[in-house]
Every structure is written in structure tokens, then in C-alpha cells.
Symmetry: C7
Subunit: 76 residues, 7 copies
């Protein structure tokens, strides 16, 4: 399948954009995407945890293990 | 087994179609299929979350990790 | 082990037959088997969800991710 | 390790024997072992589901996905 | 790492010894180890299920899928 | 994808820094990162378990299995 | 990444030391580390199960399947 159809490649093209990440335990993190790999392991800068769209906690720089991720909302 | 019998290939052929996706946690997402890979990682455009067939939330562009997917309803 | 003893090959030989599929979450789907692969990813045509042997919902064409499958009942 | 010590090879040698299979969800299936592969995916003929050693349901021919299996009782 | 340090090799050296096996669902099986492979799939002869150190059920020959195993107690 | 974008490489560059690690069971460990590998298996020195930001237990040197990790907070 | 940074190599270097092992089901085992492999499968000699730092049960020689392990406390 051509690379331009790869969801992971699409994620790489959003490096430095702000993304929201839903984990399997229902937590939502938001931050600047600074790195990602083929397993969806990724790092966020200026990461915050959200609850009802409000900041619940600030984490600075955080590495999220890909296999915990449910979905990633990417800015249009 | 011949490629035309591959369920993943069948999904690729529906790029740009509207699909409904059921996750293991029972959530349903609907949107335009814009990318997919062999693990069923995929991206949706104009994605919405449905509850009782009504729109519960709008996500714009979203990447769903394939291993969370239970089934994908494909338009006839 | 000879290919004729492969359970996956046996499934492939039932393409276009009606099968019932039990998922790990106890749901049962029934439909015409239209595609399958080595991970038991498969597509059904005219798929319905059953509850107590009655049709609970109609899905048309559906792709089921293999790792959710508990068992597949194959017609004799 | 020599092949004669392989548990999977031992299973293959029981093709056409009656086996009992316990799934992770505690269900027990019994039937004639007709196929198996290295992942313990297997097919049973004349399969029945047991509850307290009594037949609860009849399935005919069934394919069980190996990763759901807890143990397989093999006739002596 | 040298083979003599391999836990799986240590298990192979106990073929024909009596072992106790704890599964993830807390059940304990005891029997004569007759086969094992690198995934800890194994067969027991004269297998019994124990509850509070008493025999709860007798299974004869049983194949246990390795990924269900928590630990295996090996005789000194 | 270039190595400088790898989240695992980013973790390796923090060896000897203090990191906080959230496990899937909600426990938080903090300590000096002394080793890590591609699966996020890692060792911490002077490891403590935290509860409500207070030290709940001291572990000295600890090896954490990577697949239990939810996220790792990295100092700015 | 250099081998001296491998958490698994660090574990191998503690063969014959006393280690404490926390499993995902919250049980703690302590014993002399006698073997380990790259999956963290390991054997303990003179193994005991601990509850509130007291010996709850003695197991002699035990093989623990690596994928059940949460963390391993290594003596300083």
C-alpha cells in the first residue's frame, strides 16, 4: 500500500502540532507532538491531562507508550 | 490466499468512503476513511462519535489504533 | 503439518457460505463469509447480529478483526 | 528440543480423537479434533458445549481460535 | 546468555518429574511433565486440579497453553 | 523515520536523569534512569513509589518491565 | 544501544543474588535468582511468597513466566 496512505506517516507529518490523545483508561492528554515511532510510542511537549476539557495536571515533557493509545485527534 | 480475498485489501478499496467503526470499549466512530494499514490503524476525516445513532462528539481528523477495533461497517 | 489440516485453510474453503461468529464480548454475528486472512480477520456480507437466535441488528457488509473472535461455526 | 517432545505435535497425533477444550471464559467444548495448527487454532466436528458435564448446545463443525484456549484434555 | 541459564531448558530437564502449575485464573494443576516447548506450552500426564492442596478433579492427559501460566513449581 | 525522532532514543538520552513512571495499575515510581531498552524495559536507581506526591515505599534499584508502562515523565 | 545499558543484562549479572519480584496480580515472590532469559522468564531457588513482608508460602524451586512480572527489586 502506498506510503501516503499510512496512518503512521500521517502522524509523523504532524510533528510540532498540538494533538489530543485518548488512552485506553479514558485519560486524555494534549500537547505538542515532538516524536513518534511505528508503534505509536510518542513524546509530547507542554503536555497536560484534560478532564471535561479543563487542565487537570501539567506534565511538561512526557513519553506515552503506544499500546495504551485508543485514538489521536489531529488538527485539521 | 489470493489478494482479492484479503479483508485488509477490501478496506483499502473503501478509502474516501464513510465507514462506522466499533471499538472494544463499545464506542462507535463514523467518518470518511482517509488512510489504513495492515494492522487496521486508520484515519478518519470528519469523524464523529455516535451514541444511539446520534452524534455525541465531533473530532475532525482522528487516527484510531487498529488493535482497539472490534469491527468496521463498510457501505454496500 | 500438511495444509489440509490447517483450520485457516478450512475457513477459506467456506467462502460464500453462511457462518456464525462468536466474539469475545459474547456477541454473535451471522453472515456470508466473503473474505478471510491468516489472522482470522474476515468480512461478512448481509451480516446480522443475533440475540437469542433472533436478529438484533443488520450491518450489511462488515469487517471483523480476527483477534476478537472466540469461535466460528461452520455449516456441515 | 526434539519434535517428539512438542505439545503441539502431540495434539496433531490425536486428530480424529474426541477432546475436551476449556476456554478462558470457562466454557467447555467437546468434539472430534479434525484440524489444528501451531497456534492451537483448531476445528472440532460434532462439537457440543458442556455445562456440568451435560450438553448445553450443539454446534456441528466449529473453528476455535487458539489464543482463547486454557487447556485441552486428551484421551489416554 | 549461555543455554544452561535458560529457564525453559531447566524445564525440559524435568521431563517425567511431577510439577505444579499455577494458571493466571488461580487454578493449580499437578501432574507428570511429559512435553514442553519454548512458549511453555506443555503436557501433563495423570493431571489433577488442586484446591487447598486436595484433588478437585482428575484430567488424565492434558495440554496447557503456555500463555496462561503464572508459575511452575519444580521439585528440588 | 530519522533516529532523532525516536521516542526510545529520547529516553536513552535521559540516562542518569530523574524520571517519573506511571504504570497501567496507576502506581507511580520515581528514580534515576540507569538503563533502558527498545521495549521500555528499564532500571531505576534510588527508586521510590509515590502516592499523592509523597513517598509511599523505597525500593533501591528496581527493574520495571516495559509493557506495564503507561507513560514516562521526562524532566525539561 | 550499548549492552551495558540493557536492563536484561543487568538482571543476568545478579544471578545467585536474592531478588523480590512483583507480579501483575500483586503477589510478591522472593528467592535466589538462578536463571533468566530475554523475556524475563526466570527461576528462583528457595522461593517464598510474601504478604506484608512475612512469608506466606514456601515453593522451593519455581519458574516464573516473564510476561506476568511488574517489577523486580534488585539488591544494591
Amino acid at each position: 500500500m502506498p506510503a501516503e496512505n499510512s496512518p503512521i506517516k500521517a502522524l509523523e507529518q504532524r510533528l510540532s502540532d498540538i494533538v489530543s490523545i485518548k488512552l485506553k483508561d479514558d485519560r486524555i492528554f494534549r500537547g505538542r507532538l515532538t516524536r513518534c515511532d511505528q508503534y505509536m510510542n510518542l513524546t509530547l511537549g507542554d503536555a497536560v491531562e484534560l478532564e471535561n476539557d479543563e487542565t487537570k495536571a501539567k506534565y511538561g515533557s512526557i513519553l506515552i507508550r503506544g499500546n495504551n493509545i485508543l485514538w489521536i485527534q489531529i488538527p485539521e
